[in-house]
């Protein structure tokens, strides 16, 4: 799988290249600034891009803007955005086109190699991965507004994992419960929140996020 990587800190870039190579990815370009990223995304046509939000020369949200531009030129180009902090406004902008193939994670998450690589694969496969912190903020708001009041604590937990973009299998592993129990919980959540259930994992994540955004 061909990856374009944009990260301006040398140590982190080096570490990410190594991690990705170890897991069978081909890093076709590793750049450290916005203009180079734009060029690489245009010329390399990667299967997935891993992009740091803050890049030179402006040291603002250069990376995010480049990624959104590239997705306008090539819709649903898989992009995993990494950032030193997560902001719900950025999450919303990334999700705005409703096409999925988007990831938004705190940089800390790369230290959990397996989960990080899983996230890259999910995004490359058209899925959506949201950082637990974004989801926590969304759920806190949902709780305060009472929109998730009907859920049992267990369902609440399943909802959180679904919103983060985990598949049923991953939720099974994370909560140590059976696959059929997960299926039962998800069905109940969809019924209580009145969301259209979908067999497609990605569409399910987007539906859950859209519901929480309301």
């Amino acid at each position: 799988m061909r990856v374009v990587l944009a990260e301006d800190l040398f140590l982190l870039r080096d570490g990410l290249i190594r991690t990705l190579r170890e897991h069978g990815f081909e890093v076709v370009a590793a750049v450290d600034n916005g203009p180079d990223l734009r060029r690489a995304l245009h010329e390399q046509e990667p299967d997935v891009a891993v992009v740091d939000v803050r890049l030179p020369p402006s040291f603002t949200d250069e990376g995010l803007r480049a990624a959104l531009e590239a997705r306008r030129a090539r819709p649903a180009l898989p992009v995993l955005v990494l950032s030193q902090y997560v902001d719900r406004l950025y999450a919303r902008e990334l999700l705005a086109d409703g096409r999925g193939a988007i990831g938004y994670l705190l940089k800390d998450r790369v230290t959990r190699t397996e989960q990080f690589v899983d996230a890259v694969r999910t995004v490359a496969g058209g899925g959506t991965v949201m950082d637990p912190q974004v989801i926590a903020k969304l759920l806190a708001r949902g709780d305060a507004r009472g929109s998730t009041a009907e859920l049992t604590p267990r369902e609440h937990e399943v909802l959180r994992l679904m919103a983060e973009g985990r598949s049923n299998a991953a939720i099974t592993r994370a909560l140590h419960i059976s696959e059929s129990a997960v299926a039962k919980h998800t069905a109940s959540i969809f019924a209580k929140l009145r969301i259209e259930s979908s067999a497609d994992d990605n569409r399910r994540v987007l539906a859950v996020l859209a519901h929480l955004e309301r």
């Binding site: 803050r54 603002t60 949200d61 919303r92 705005a96 800390d108 230290t111």
Partner: protein
Amino acid sequence: MRGQAGGWPDGTVRALLRCQLLSLYAFAVTALGALVVGVMLLLPVGLGRSLLPGAARRLRRLSDRYRSWATDWTGTRISPPDPLPEGEGRQRAGAVLADEGFWQDVRWSWLEPWVGGLLVAVPPTLAGFGLFGALVQPFVWRLLGPDNWYAFVLVDSTPSMLAAAVLGLLFVAAGLRLAPAVLGLHARWTRKVLAAPYTTELVRRVEHLTDTRAEVLDAQAAELRRIERDLHDGAQARLVALGMTLDAATRLLDSDPAAARDLLREVRASSARALQDLRDLVHGIHPPILTDRGLGDAVRSLALDCFLDTHVTVELPGRFPAPVEAAAYFAVAELLANAAKHGGGREVTIRLAHAGGTLTATVADDGRGGADPGGGSGLRGVARRLSTVDGTLVLHSPPGGPTTVTLEIPCASSSPKTSSCSGTG
């Protein structure tokens, strides 16, 4: 707050009535001016000394009324002179005589009737004369005999009466048309004669700057102490613990690999917490999104995290100086938190706009109101923080709501527009 001369016909009629009021007040000004000078003539006799402070106070009350009218009616701000000197009896008369503002009032009381008073009399006179022509002439011209001139029309037949009526209507229209402009001109005249002298303004400015500078330095020192403490108790302490745990894990690596693995897991958890500590600290110093996107998107981001229904309207031309953006951001953040905590409402509307060199932020909620500007709701802190960038805060929160807080910061916008990609809030 400020009754600008509005549109046709309400605003113009109101302006006309205000001109009429001002022209009537000119008599009061004349009388009071004459009184004060009369009292001053009595100064050589003891009586003048005891009467002067009272007369001066009355005159000041009248001139203050003119100042506030100018502000309320036309938005012309007139900075008042320093208050008249306090004190007892004879000493006070001396102090009054030495007061710059007093002499300003006296000068004004003798000039106002001749300049301001005559000026504001023009529109009502035109309108009154017009009304006479349009409404009264049709009924009285037969009684007035052959030499009945209305302006330049000799009214001696029905056609010439109709011409006079039309002319009268034109006079009324001219009076109405002139009134707002004359009111504005009068306000400018009032500012010219009644605004505090330049030196007074400068002294006030210096005092304000000295105060706010002291506050800024205090706040800055407190902020640095807080950061130092947060680093010391948070990230720094965690890193020390991390090093110790790593050391222990290294020692256990050969003898008890399982225990070493547990310790390393612990290391990972505390490094994550240290990162979170640092992130929170950075956010408290200067939120990254404010650097990235500026005030508009930073406030949109705040709104997204607020559990109330928050509607954000941003009409900003671009970026502002960093201190202004930060002051406005933290003020809005505090107000939003207040609305969520104390307001008891469901909806908040935030509007950011920039016009005439002033950045305005309005935060309104549909809660129960009754917020106290001096209370513990942090409003005073917000106002203090704003004052360091010459900003002001106006609170309007009647019991029962709604609450509206308006922040104003004088500033120019700088770089071109940069804004969110989705444009939603």
